[in-house]
């Protein structure tokens, strides 16, 4: 058991200071801006909750929120099972798994703004490697909404699958092989081994995967903006694209109010998630 010692806070001081400067202070500032109309930095007027009320009452906001939630849900539904599946496959590779991990980690080091470029080059009808084939299938992400969504999902999966695989593999490879052997001798099915031996071991890794993939996909900007800038129509107008429009339009007060709202939504999801995982941990240890 670790000793109780409040002097440990001294060791946290540098971290708190740093996060205070780059995290807490800007966060307070953004909430403060959200209650003001900002023309220039010296011409600022108090408007109260006007921006918040405007945004919450607008149909566009609700539509974008719906799209962003749907996109996150689809990202999680695709990437988590796929990533865990690939990780399970890698565990079966033994020591050669390291090559697989290196393979799936590669997209993680590609500059984010180049990822849409790479994929747009790949599906370009004239000279992309996949372009002619996709053209023959009638694939057109510039004018068909669900094609744009499909391309975004494939792109995002390409980008982030590696993170899911690496983190899930980390949990899986910590399980002693004897556990699986014993379960198999007892006649456990593959599903039972996964459900009762492997899944509990990767619960912590899955939790962080869920949260990281949720926030990043919920706030997807670069990929969606580069691809179609929210189109075709409004079909890929996600929350972050609306925020980007306001910032570029210099309506800083409204942008700050919107940013505060987004932060509160993310915070609510994280909070619910942490409470749920703590509840489970409590149930398991009880």
């Amino acid at each position: 058991m670790r000793p109780h010692d409040n002097r440990a806070w001294l060791l946290l001081l540098p971290a708190l200071l740093l996060l205070g400067v780059v995290g807490a202070v800007p966060l307070l500032a953004v909430f403060n801006y959200g209650f003001h109309d900002i023309f220039t930095l010296t011409d600022v007027h108090w408007v109260g909750v006007e921006w918040f009320a405007d945004i919450l009452a607008s149909d566009r906001f609700l539509a974008s929120l719906g799209r962003s939630l749907l996109f996150s849900a689809m990202v999680l539904a695709i990437q988590v099972p796929l990533g865990v599946g690939v990780a399970l496959m890698f565990v079966g590779l033994g020591t050669r798994a390291v090559w697989g991990l290196m393979l799936v980690a590669m997209p993680l080091v590609v500059p984010w703004n180049m990822i849409p470029m790479l994929w747009m080059g790949l599906v370009q009808p004239q000279n992309g490697l996949m372009g002619p084939g996709l053209l023959a299938l009638g694939f057109d992400w510039k004018s068909t909404a669900w094609h744009a969504w499909a391309l975004l999902l494939v792109m995002d999966t390409w980008h982030w699958l590696g993170l899911v695989v690496v983190l899930a593999y980390a949990g899986l490879s910590a399980i002693p092989p004897a556990y699986r052997q014993a379960a198999r001798i007892d006649g456990a099915t593959r599903w039972a081994i996964f459900r009762y031996i492997e899944l509990p071991k990767i619960a912590g890794a899955l939790a962080i995967i869920f949260l990281l993939r949720f926030v990043d996909s919920f706030m997807i900007y670069t990929e969606a903006f580069t691809l179609t800038a929210g189109g075709p129509g409004d079909s890929t107008r996600f929350l972050s694209i609306e925020l980007g429009e306001e910032i570029r339009g210099f309506s800083y007060g409204q942008a700050a109010a919107r940013a505060s709202l987004y932060f509160l939504i993310v915070l609510a999801v994280v909070w619910a998630f942490v409470l749920a995982t703590r509840g489970q941990q409590g149930a398991r240890s009880a």
Binding site: R2, P3, H4, D5, N6, A8, W9, L11, L12, P14, A15, L18, L19, V22, G23, P26, L27, A29, V30, L41, M89, A97, G100, L101, M102, L103, V104, M106, P107, L108, V109, V110, P111, W112, N113, L118, G121, L129, M130, W158, V166, L167, A170, A205, A207, I208, L211, L212, F218, M219, L243, I247, Y252, A255, A256, Y262, V266, V270, T277, R278
Partner: protein
């Protein structure tokens, strides 16, 4: 058999966009003196290395990433040690707070960060980017280092202190060598979240100090030399690939939710 096919499909999926980029990077996509369009060769790489702003961008990126990794490790190490070795009032709140900072979308903070950093003169400087990337890298570094320190038995610390080591001496000469792989993994994850980030990198480099991501962005224009863009992209992948290679045996430690 099925597994071999699945692995092959996965390899194709991951490599296809990269293969296309590598092919383009060796192809002349715009006509140039003495080089026909469509010719194969190193002309794009030569052009990239001959452009002073692109060379400067590589230096800027390297500087801010190295600063960020060094800062994150230096600050995360004592915090991780405190969390791994002691219980204290509010330790779970601290873990929750760093989780919240890790998941705060950068776009939410971009505006006040810009105003704040403009006031203290950190705009257009790699130092500013290095500082602000700690927002999402410091929590990850703390989680990773904490799990590695926890794996070291507490008797290890006690022996070192009994031998008369001071706290800094213990950290530098005993703990750091002991958890070196953990530092490598933390550095890797800090690197992958920082090297490729674009939101803060864009907002904090208005006129100068542009990192690789923004330098590539600036290469798009009326007549984009896509071969040169891809050559720059391929070059920007090299440090990341090297990082993956160095930590390949420790990658599998990963990190998980601590809250």
């Amino acid at each position: 058999m099925i597994r071999a096919l699945a692995l092959l499909a996965l390899a194709c999926f991951i490599l296809l966009p990269l293969v296309q980029a590598v092919i383009l990077s060796f192809t002349a996509t715009l006509p140039r003196p003495n080089v026909a369009e469509g010719a194969i060769g190193l002309m794009n790489y030569r052009a990239v290395l001959a452009a002073p702003e692109l060379r400067a961008a590589m230096v800027n990126s390297a500087v801010y990433v190295l600063l960020n990794v060094a800062l994150c490790i230096a600050v995360a190490l004592p915090a991780a040690y405190a969390l791994a070795r002691f219980r204290f009032t509010g330790d779970r709140h601290f873990l929750l707070a760093i989780l919240v900072f890790r998941v705060t979308p950068p776009v939410v903070l971009s505006l006040p960060i810009f105003i704040l950093f403009a006031r203290i003169g950190l705009v257009n400087s790699p130092v500013g980017i290095a500082l602000v990337h700690c927002l999402f890298n410091l929590p990850v570094a703390i989680w990773i280092l904490e799990s590695f320190i926890r794996a070291v038995p507490p008797e290890f610390d006690e022996t070192a202190f009994l031998d008369g080591h001071s706290a800094p001496g213990f950290f530098l000469r005993h703990l750091i060598p002991q958890i070196a792989p953990g530092i490598g993994v933390a550095a890797f994850f800090c690197f992958i979240f920082s090297w490729v980030e674009v939101v803060f990198a864009r907002i904090l480099t208005v006129t100068g100090g542009k990192p690789i991501t923004m330098a590539i962005q600036a290469m798009f224009g009326f007549q984009t030399d896509i071969g040169m863009v891809m050559a720059m992209t391929c070059l920007s992948l090299l440090p990341g690939m090297a990082m993956i290679w160095f930590v390949r045996h420790h990658l599998a430690r990963g990190f998980s939710l601590r809250a």
